[in-house]
Symmetry: C2
Subunit: 474 residues, 2 copies
């Protein structure tokens, strides 16, 4: 990795060549590179923080001049207690995850001594475009190397000095490892984004890490597949049978635990018969947390007549756009669903949510199953908070992003999302003409993957369970 | 499905709405629709063939006028013995495949009574653009309905009468089933392609079924993900240790069994020390089959000195473009690789093949493993023919296409390639704020999928095997 005067084409070509060398390194070689990066960044802390202070000075000036937001300045600061250490620990955490590549995920015996295997491998070259946070460079570098992918990293202008320092340290560290330094390319000038997005011959996947504006811009300007989501408009559909206290707990968590998160609740759909039963205490609790409630006509009327005067005065009337808006703030749109009309709720969600995460609250399993099947979103929940949509919470160990795409990876994406597979056949001179009409028959025998066997029949499953319980010995 | 005056936008919106209804139908309902289509097309054979004869008449006139190729006219003809019956059988074959949707492919217990499942589901709306063959409409309709996807089918102008007849029969058949007829939309006018390709809000995946020109056009003109491959430039790398007779068999199959196929061999890389040993008999056999050999300098010289005068006179000299060309014909480019220089062969393939299918012929396992790992293609083979790259041969039961994409589906694509998954959480009121610092711990316990258990330890694997062999009883 280096800050370079190379053209975007040269950068992409170098990354591509590097990616082929990286793809064949062993788990140990890739892990050793992460260890080396960790060590170098630990030793280079002062150097990085000095550079970071330069970025902060410039950013503070810009913030005083009103051209930069204070929240962006905060995100720039690597000197906050624990932040640098978290960044370092993140590298080791990624290193210690299971290797996602070179895993055999399917095997079929096509014929005697003719074995087809599906083996996971890196995608190739990733283009990662991110906004202010300078620590992301370490996180993304670790994810890319762990999964055997080269990466072109395009950072934001505000953190250029921090980036340069981290990049130079990582670059030096890689020269002592088996990973070709070309596998990580840092690009900083803003005017090259469009050129990079045009290089779909060399770049296999683009991951924008930032707000709606960045993601939408990227999606509109490239033929490279884009992993991510522009909006996070999540909904929860409250049925009248669900206990009000549990509903309140779930809705409060979904709306208020991190309103700026893409998995936060933006719309509450309420069954008409819950308007005067479970909705009022929930509304009261939300208002107490400072949430603005934008109510459709029936919910507004119902709450006006049930809330106390103070709370009733706080209610707002929803406009149609409130049901297509990602607020990212303490605002919740409330829509009334005709009593027991599941299909209307589903149709509203499929038309208005951003297909990120949607939930139903009900005790009725039949209703819930219908909802879970019919809602076309990357995550669909029964009786839990939309804030569960997160790679760490899903147990992936890390999160590359959350995808609302309908192909490749959907929902929270772990390291697996940075891999694809290849089909490998090992034969002994068999050819296609040996098979078919008048020739040999294909065996097409599905085998377990190496080191595993799948118990498929009820009897086989039972045998395994008994063995595990110690009721059966060999 | 109907031939309609609707605009592309209306077509896509209707397909999208239909897709949501289709997605929640049961296996039995979708299969019943395929049975109904099969029955209707069997009964409507005369009607379809009458329409097909109109297309053929027009096509024959165009062929006489020189504006249409004879091979295209042949592909139009549904009246050839057995062709209509094959089309009908294909519908039943697809119906009888395992249902690819609603399969639980991963389960994680996040906490007590908080279960995360990954469940396969349809992608949504497919746009399928295909050239002359009218029987493809039945095949694609079957694949789409089986996998729960709506499809917009854009056929070629030459088969418009056949399409209209088949479409009207399928449409009538669907009205008797649970599948909304809007789920299959037939579009015929050519000038709507660009409009359809712009509708990435409603269409989730585009599958062009046709030649390089069609695929390249589609890829350049849409933001919709495209499944397929433009070129099939497949290579085989012959090492000097591999027995000449086996090499000859494999290379002949790869080059001559169906030269127009995308999985046919276009380039032979020959180790320098095989130039005068195994190459001459292979070259002689290829020439006898009418294959033109376009040789680089060293292979030309070597063959000139070893082949008989007649064969030597047939040899051609390769130009640089021959190593970036999909011939789709009885032509083979031959390139010499310095003796024992595996890396040069790999670098040539990664730079010049179309990442479709590439093979190595050698008895040396270490060399082969290195090749299989380093070649960045969707299928990589050891000691077999590139013609093996095919969904039927891989045991998928059917083939949607062959993809050289690096995301979603790679290589031969079966029904699985028309699916994605959603993440489902079933909880009991747990929320994100319950976990983390100071709160509860995640369990993150990986469970087997329903009805299966995976034996992971060597002991468990052994227990299963003994049970299967009857050496162990419950």
């Amino acid at each position: 990795m280096s800050l370079t005067n190379a053209t975007p084409l040269e950068v992409a070509q170098a990354a591509r060549l590097g990616s082929r060398k990286l793809a064949v390194l062993s788990t140990e070689e890739r892990n050793a590179a992460l260890t080396a990066i960790h060590k170098a960044l630990a030793e280079g802390k002062d150097e990085v923080l000095a550079a970071n202070r330069k970025d902060l000075e410039a950013a503070n000036k810009a913030a005083e001049g009103g051209t930069l937001s204070q929240s962006l300045v905060k995100r720039l600061d690597l000197g906050k207690p624990g932040k640098y250490e978290d960044m370092l620990q993140g590298i080791l955490d990624v290193r210690d995850l299971e290797d996602p590549i070179n895993k055999t995920t399917a095997r079929t015996l096509l014929d005697d001594n003719l074995l087809l295997s599906r083996i996971t491998c890196p995608i190739g070259v990733l283009l990662i475009i991110f906004e202010a946070r300078p620590e992301v460079i370490a996180n993304i570098s670790a994810l890319a190397l762990k999964s055997g992918n080269a990466a072109i990293l395009k950072g934001g202008r505000e953190s250029s000095a921090s980036f340069a320092a981290i990049a130079s340290i990582i670059s030096r560290a890689l020269t002592t490892t088996a990973v070709p330094p070309d596998c990580l390319q840092l690009v900083q000038t803003h005017d090259v984004i469009k050129d990079l997005l045009a290089l779909d011959t060399y770049i296999d996947l683009c991951i924008p890490r930032g707000g709606n504006k960045l993601v939408s811009f990227v999606k509109k300007n490239t033929a490279i597949p884009v992993l991510g989501h522009a909006d996070g408009i999540c909904t929860t559909y409250l049925r009248s049978d669900y206990p009000a206290a549990l509903a309140e707990k779930i809705i409060l968590d979904a709306k208020t635990s991190y309103p700026a998160g893409c998995n936060s609740l933006e719309q509450l759909l309420v069954d008409a018969s819950a308007l005067t039963t479970s909705l009022p205490p929930i509304a009261t609790a939300l208002l107490a947390k400072g949430v603005s409630l934008r109510c459709d006509e029936p919910s507004y009327t119902a709450l006006q007549s049930t809330l106390d005067a103070h709370n009733a005065a706080l209610l707002q009337k929803a406009s149609e756009t409130d049901f297509s808006t990602e607020f990212l703030d303490l605002i919740l749109a409330i829509k009334t669903i005709p009593s027991d009309d599941l299909e209307t709720a589903i149709a509203h969600i499929n038309a208005h949510s951003s297909h990120h995460t949607d939930a139903i609250l009900t005790l009725d399993q039949t209703i819930a199953d219908r909802f879970l099947a019919a809602v076309d979103s990357s995550s669909v929940y029964w009786n839990t908070s939309t804030r569960m949509a997160d790679g760490q919470r899903y147990g992936f160990g890390t999160e590359v992003g959350i995808s609302t795409n309908k192909i490749h990876s959907r929902g929270p994406v772990g390291l697996e999302g940075l891999t694809i597979y290849k089909w490998v056949i090992k034969g002994e001179g068999q050819v296609s003409g040996d098979y078919g009409a008048g020739g040999k028959k294909w065996k097409h025998e599905r085998l377990g993957v190496e080191g595993e066997e799948v118990a498929r029949s009820a009897e086989e499953v039972e045998v395994l369970r008994r063995f595990r319980r110690g009721e059966l010995t060999m």
